[in-house]
Symmetry: C2
Subunit: 388 residues, 2 copies
């Protein structure tokens, strides 16, 4: 196993206090008396609560950020020992699951105590409510509980990463870069794609991933049909383009980038397509500067991959990245989010190489005052050839 | 790599038709004109749509099961090629993400076309709505769209597994059983717990897991503090009890069971605790018969692990299992779900071994007419000793 060379695990309490203070400043502007949070990244953002136990959909978890003071947790008792290792001191628990009242009364009582006014809940694009809808409706009906949209506060906060967060994504990218550098060890002509997927996940773990929540890809002659299908038992053949796209996690932060490989010598078309994807990525990198918009970066890449046709069915050419595999903004014509230092993005141009055949390339970047820096070890214009 | 020896991938169309017909019979009883589904397992249950792309929270996905006829998908265009490989023929797409109208109008139009009456949406315990709350509210306000609770139809359907589903869980259990049988290859005294976690995940992949969404556990002298914490860098020492609890996936179905190991010779207390956990598991196995309730199985185990005190902060002693790591029912005093053939459950008794120290054991079972059969290779009463 490769030694774990990334930054120290977790964050200082100062980081959580700063996040809370920023939230409270925005809440004051909007007249909110609290935020109510229910999803894994929302709860973790303020509490540091990191566990794979969210994979179980059974129990709801709640974090309240009041207008002043530290966040308050209302959670199942099974989670209290782990949460108490962090900085949150006010942890109120019930023994879940409790089908008749799974924390709703405790949550309502806590909200009435802490939040005399409107309580902001993330409701916009790319957010979910992680509690049963029937319980949400019960909570909404409690007198004295006033649930309103959060006005995009969570989006605004999470769009701009701290230096400590950027270091975590960089460490995840470094793990994946090391795994991609060794990819020839886990693939060969004649090997089935599902075996390659398994072996590549093992390689990511060996290089230091804590877990591998996401691996997608494809393989086919001159390109692949899509980039979200599970791997099947088809064997890699000469002339195939293999793509592996990994979202692995180290210390709670994702990377998300891919690499293409030619099985045996590539055709001129594949070679050219790969070079064009790298050219588009470099154009995206150059366009990603503070003051430019997400749409500007889209168009910089789209000019190269579709001659400016305005995109494809994939719908976007990159996105935010951090505690989740994909975050705001989207690199699409309609997203006019202004880029700022501290944003972490993927650049993900794709192009058609034939009927029902595509190739996609992806790198990860961070916005700085001077422009964008790469977090992933960038691929060269020449598609790597292997397994020949 | 171990050859993939489980059942063939996917399901026959007949399986999806049977699921749809059962849903429609229940919908008729309740006067529903359609079901609207938004989460990964709900959509996959009727469509077979299997992809790790759900890891991205950006895009909503919708499946409508009308009162008669085949399900209709309303999904982002990026997913259409994969979904079209299955049996669903009516696939309506939009190019997502589209922040101004991310499928809501298309969904509303489709519902108005297909569902003249009430549309059932899962809203109860252990369900979520996977779309932004603001979009849900917009949808609810569309004239002619009448969204109501699904009356537990999805819960009812998914509680009882088909033989084809049971075979998939059995295959996932077989992968984990093989991995546990080789666990001494990936651990040793002095190795850090996070390294053991990484290496065990690699072993699960090598034995045939498609991916490993869940691995939890702990290690400590005479027991561990909880069962949901991430692994830290502490080295395994003589006298530690190590527990690994894996929810790996093969072909979209989970296993979920654990094993305990003593690093070096166990104390009498640890040996006795392990034997008592196995005794409790066997009592649960004997109690899990058609006609008994989830609560009955809880009490059969609780009598042994807490002398009938009624449970612990973990909140339950087992749960349903299938397309998700945890499903209904819960083995708790308040869950009076009557057990039926075809239910797949975990038995998960735990006990305190000291202040802030616990041990937990878990097996997976399927309900048959005659009682319960084990799906996991059962652990013996003697705690395995290793790394000594």
């Amino acid at each position: 196993m490769t030694p774990d060379t990334g930054p120290a695990r977790g964050f200082d309490t100062a980081e959580y206090r700063a996040r809370t203070a920023r939230a409270q400043a925005l809440m004051a502007e909007q007249g909110l008396s609290a935020l109510l949070l229910t999803t894994e990244p929302e709860v973790r953002y303020f509490s540091g609560y990191l566990t794979r136990f969210w994979e179980s959909p059974t129990r709801p978890w709640f974090l309240i950020v009041p207008a002043a003071g530290d966040p308050v947790a209302v959670i199942p008792s099974i989670g209290a020992p782990l949460l108490a290792r962090g900085w949150i001191r006010d942890i109120r628990t019930w023994r879940a699951p409790a089908p008749e009242d799974d924390g709703v009364t405790l949550l309502a009582d806590t909200l009435r105590e802490l939040a005399p006014g409107p309580v902001g809940v993330p409701m916009g694009h790319e957010t979910h409510l992680r509690m049963p809808l029937a319980d949400w409706q019960r909570l909404r009906d409690v007198p004295g509980v006033d649930l309103v949209p959060d006005g995009g506060i969570l989006r605004r906060l999470r769009l701009i990463k701290s230096e400590a967060e950027i270091a975590k994504t960089a460490a995840a990218c470094a793990v994946a870069s090391r795994a991609f550098a060794r990819v020839t060890e886990v693939m060969a002509r004649g090997m089935t794609l599902d075996t390659v997927f398994r072996r590549f996940q093992m390689l990511c773990l060996e290089e230091g991933a804590d877990w591998v929540p996401y691996l997608a890809g494809g393989a086919g002659p001159g390109g692949y049909a899509d980039v979200i299908s599970p791997a099947g038992p088809q064997a890699l053949r000469a002339g195939d383009v293999l793509m592996l796209d990994t979202g692995l996690v180290r210390d709670g932060y994702f990377c998300d980038f891919d690499r293409n490989f030619s099985i045996g010598p590539p055709t001129a078309q594949v070679r050219n397509a790969h070079a064009r994807l790298i050219e588009a990525t470099q154009a995206g990198l150059a366009a990603a500067r503070p003051g430019a918009t997400a749409a500007d970066v889209f168009h910089a890449m789209d000019r190269i991959v579709t001659d400016g046709a305005g995109g494809s069915d994939a719908g976007r050419l990159g996105h935010g990245l951090g505690m989740q595999l994909t975050e705001w903004p989207s690199l699409i014509p309609d997203d006019h989010t202004v880029l700022e230092p501290g944003m972490v993005l993927t650049l993900e141009p794709g192009l058609e190489t034939g009927p029902g055949r595509i190739m996609v390339h992806e790198e990860n970047i961070v916005l700085r005052e001077h422009g964008a820096d790469l977090l992933s070890d960038p691929a060269s214009a020449d598609i790597p050839v292997t397994g020949g």
